[in-house]
Subunit: 525 residues, 2 copies
């Protein structure tokens, strides 16, 4: 049986003639059920339905979107067991410790936070200039296409994750492209979304699901004149194809492409707490089989005896730690390609490197090493992402080389510096941190990057190629919502015609910037 | 004599072998003084000097940039007569009524507003989450290239205008590409900027000036790995070349490309105040010889006798009004090409259309007309911008066609709707405004678009092709400054290492969002 697509409010037999199946990475067996490859005509139908929905929702209050998001979160919770079970089959991510107790609650929490931000309009940043009677606020941008990644079947799912929640909270319909490695999980979520959309009387075309369009059709989708914007999280190469198409049509596209998340362990930190840091690092780097966008894939160290001890301690932990199952055969292939590329560029293998070692699709926990001079000579090759349970240690000869390495980094989501708590690394920190600062979205002290809190101050973003624009974050509410808004300015518009958030009266106590001061008050009359 | 370029803090003889001269559009004579065409090696020198400046300024307080901006504004005022005189020669814009009494004060006002925003950091939007101890703030993005337009030799000048002020207020060095039609004005401004930079002890490479690099070298500049971002205001075609290069390198580029600024005159408004509206429109459309980015180049009307009277009244005013001088021969050529394209697509010439009629480089005030059905059949051709003293009137057969026309519009900076003050147009307004809203940055009631107030609520932006991203404005402080920032998140960073704007104490009373509430207070301890 071939599953249906969700187009214009109906579960519809796909017009596509090709199909695909998901595989269980733990058993390396195909999972029952075929999914269609959506042809262009189907994608276009979805675009037209989304456009109609977008027009039908013009001027709607945030309350309408909040009700949908909350109803959806409830529906997901009601179907939690079924979702967790299928997601576990499709991804091999641990059902109780990860999917059920961490990722699913995170997902419904995000939906509810987005609902709150939609309801109180806090994301929309109203600005009122009483002298000129000019007023501005962010409003919906139009239909949003979301391409989710393989590694978070719930929290970044194209029809339930952060991009979805943000696009809806801003008042937009979403066309979700289901990830090919967990199509069933996505289908179940789409069922829940569709049910919530009907219950809260959203228009047909408000939430839609298609599968696996060709790269060419993906490019046509993100650049279509009726589309507002796109969110993409995934591999760099496929993302750049979409970026190029969207850019040429002047359509915003928010990308999360790749990141190796450099971590500095300064000498005084290693001196002070070598074993703790080795454990903390190994745990972070191997968690989820290293398949996090914030996985610490690059470590920078200063040459010395204690550093050698640290490297050995980490290598031991890597070789002794259990080997996890990877998300898919594609991840394993990409991982091995990445490891090989790093070795070809001059890195030495300290441990691991071979396929297998765990249940199903797996590769050994892998640690690589290179000296700072080689790293600086081949900065592009040695910053290739090997997505999975590995890291590259760069041992620099002195402080200057540590700083030079920071200046040579590509854009990353995160950067971390561990330093001595008594201050012995402070001078070196002061040289490295400003360089690292400009190359990462989130700078950390004494902390691993793998936790990404849903905080209003979070920046899950950073300079290219981590993302496509360093001013935006994919995680954190309300900031992530602004990506799916456009700036709406009203100049001399008659009072009754203004959106509620810009009228003189402010009964909901929305925070607004009036004549340069933030206030919850009415405009003084 | 060939003028020098300003590179790395020195006025330097250009390495370029080609030169160019500016022309006086009022006399159609060349102006004394040759300017170099900067070769790639020179552009690269500027990039490296800007990068060094950017690094030297890391962590500087906004106060440093504020002092420069204020000193620069003072220096411009001290040299006002010289600037106005040369700008008048190079652009033919009226010296007393436009350059001296309006544009120059606007320019120094922008610089001083930017200084205030840099000093109080209001543009940087600090967000503090005390529960997770994550904090975020916008910081400088790195060296900024600015390409200014031809039509505002001061207020949008690449080394003195809105983009320059915004880039500097965010803490970045600027590489200005002097516009080829007013290189002398730009040179004088660069002298003033250089003087102010020395007085306020800014690093060499903080402000630099190059001339007329090739399109290919421009593309290399905006995509260079050491660059942070680019601001471009000008013709669409050249802008798209730069956009493509910057996009492919993942470098933000903020564009202002073209806009025809649709204006609706609804039947009840014409019925009520036909003559006033005809005068208001003609004045706005012919002001500055129509050479404004917000010039009302497209007018939408409903067929009827009074509409015919209105069209005649505007045509009469166009034919009777004096014809202004255009900015350059290039503008005249482009204008005539645009008029011809619009006529080829089926528009009828009501008045004007011929070259000449004014002093020097000029074309007759030109009014064109087409019916709504033709407009909807050729939306791209009939939305071509004819930059100058012209407008296209589209007469729609009924309300539905007026709405359909709104839905067919490309992205624009502005859109305006004139309606009856007693309410007779309200139902029609309610159908047109939501469609127009999604296609413009600034929506106006009963107002011409040609005034662009420097207001915190201004949006001088809009969907592509008006700009490259509908979330950003090029005018208005502090919002325009954010374009040259990147989001800097600090996670678990030790208190003393945080930037001042994110520390617990807030002695300057900066507005910050703490746990979702905007406040000028300290973080509660």
């Amino acid at each position: 049986m071939t599953h249906k697509v969700l187009i214009a409010g109906q579960w519809t037999v796909s017009a596509g003639t090709k199909t695909f199946q998901a595989a269980n990475p733990a058993t390396e067996q195909l999972i029952d059920g075929e999914y269609p490859v959506s042809p262009w005509a189907e994608v276009e139908q979805a675009i037209e339905a989304a456009d109609a929905a977008s027009k039908a929702m013009r001027g709607w209050s945030g309350e309408r979107f909040a009700r949908f998001l909350e109803s959806y979160a409830d529906t997901i919770e009601a179907r939690a067991d079924e979702l967790v079970d299928l997601a576990n089959q499709e991804t091999a991510l641990p059902a109780p410790t990860r999917l059920k107790s961490v990722e699913l609650p995170r997902t419904t929490n995000q939906l509810r936070q987005a609902a709150a931000a939609a309801r109180n309009a806090s994301w929309s940043q109203p600005v009122i200039d009483t002298k000129t009677n000019i007023r501005a606020v962010f409003g919906p941008i139009g239909p949003v296409a979301v391409f989710g990644p393989n590694n978070f079947p719930f929290a970044f799912n194209s029809i339930a994750g952060g991009d979805f929640a943000a696009a809806v909270a801003a008042g937009n319909p979403v066309i979700a492209k289901g990830h090919s490695s967990h199509p069933g999980t996505t289908r179940l979520l789409a069922e829940a979304a569709h049910e919530a959309a009907r219950e809260t009387e959203m228009p047909a075309g408000f939430v839609q699901l298609i599968y696996r369009p060709s790269h060419e059709d993906g490019a046509k989708l993100v650049s279509h004149k009726l589309m507002g914007a796109t969110g993409y999280t995934g591999a760099r190469q496929a993302g750049l194809v979409l970026k190029s198409a969207a850019d040429s049509a002047g359509k915003p596209i928010y990308l999360e492409l790749s990141s190796i998340n450099p971590v500095y362990f300064l000498p005084g930190a290693i001196e002070e707490r070598l074993d703790d840091l080795a454990s903390e690092f190994a745990t972070s780097c191997l968690m989820g089989t290293g398949q996090f966008c914030t996985n610490p894939g690059l470590v920078l160290l200063k040459a010395g005896d204690r550093t050698e001890e640290f490297v050995s301690a980490v290598a031991t932990r890597f070789s002794e730690a259990p080997v996890g199952t990877m998300l898919s055969e594609g991840v394993r292939t990409g991982f091995q390609h990445g490891i090989q590329a790093i070795r070809n560029a001059g890195a030495e293998l300290l441990t691991g490197g071979e396929s297998g070692g765990g249940t199903g699709v797996s590769c050994q926990n892998t640690l690589l090493r290179v000296d700072g001079t080689t790293f600086l000579a081949k900065p592009a090759e040695l910053q290739e992402e090997a997505f999975g349970n590995s890291s590259l240690f760069v041992v620099c000869r002195d402080d200057d080389q540590l700083v030079e390495a920071a200046e040579s980094l590509e854009g990353n989501l995160t950067g971390a510096i561990y330093s001595n708590t008594k201050g012995s690394d402070d001078a070196l920190y002061a040289r490295i941190a400003p360089a690292l600062r400009q190359r990462v979205g989130r700078l950390m002290d004494d902390k691993m990057p793998t936790g990404v809190a849903v905080s209003p101050a979070m920046n899950h973003g950073g300079p290219f190629p981590a993302t496509g624009h360093p001013a935006f974050t994919a995680v954190g509410i309300p900031a992530s919502i602004v990506r799916y808004g456009m700036l709406h300015c009203y100049d001399n518009v008659r009072p009754a015609r203004l959106p509620a958030s810009l009228q003189d009266k402010n009964p909901g106590g929305l925070w607004r910037s009036i004549d340069g001061e933030w206030t919850q008050a009415d405009v003084a009359s």
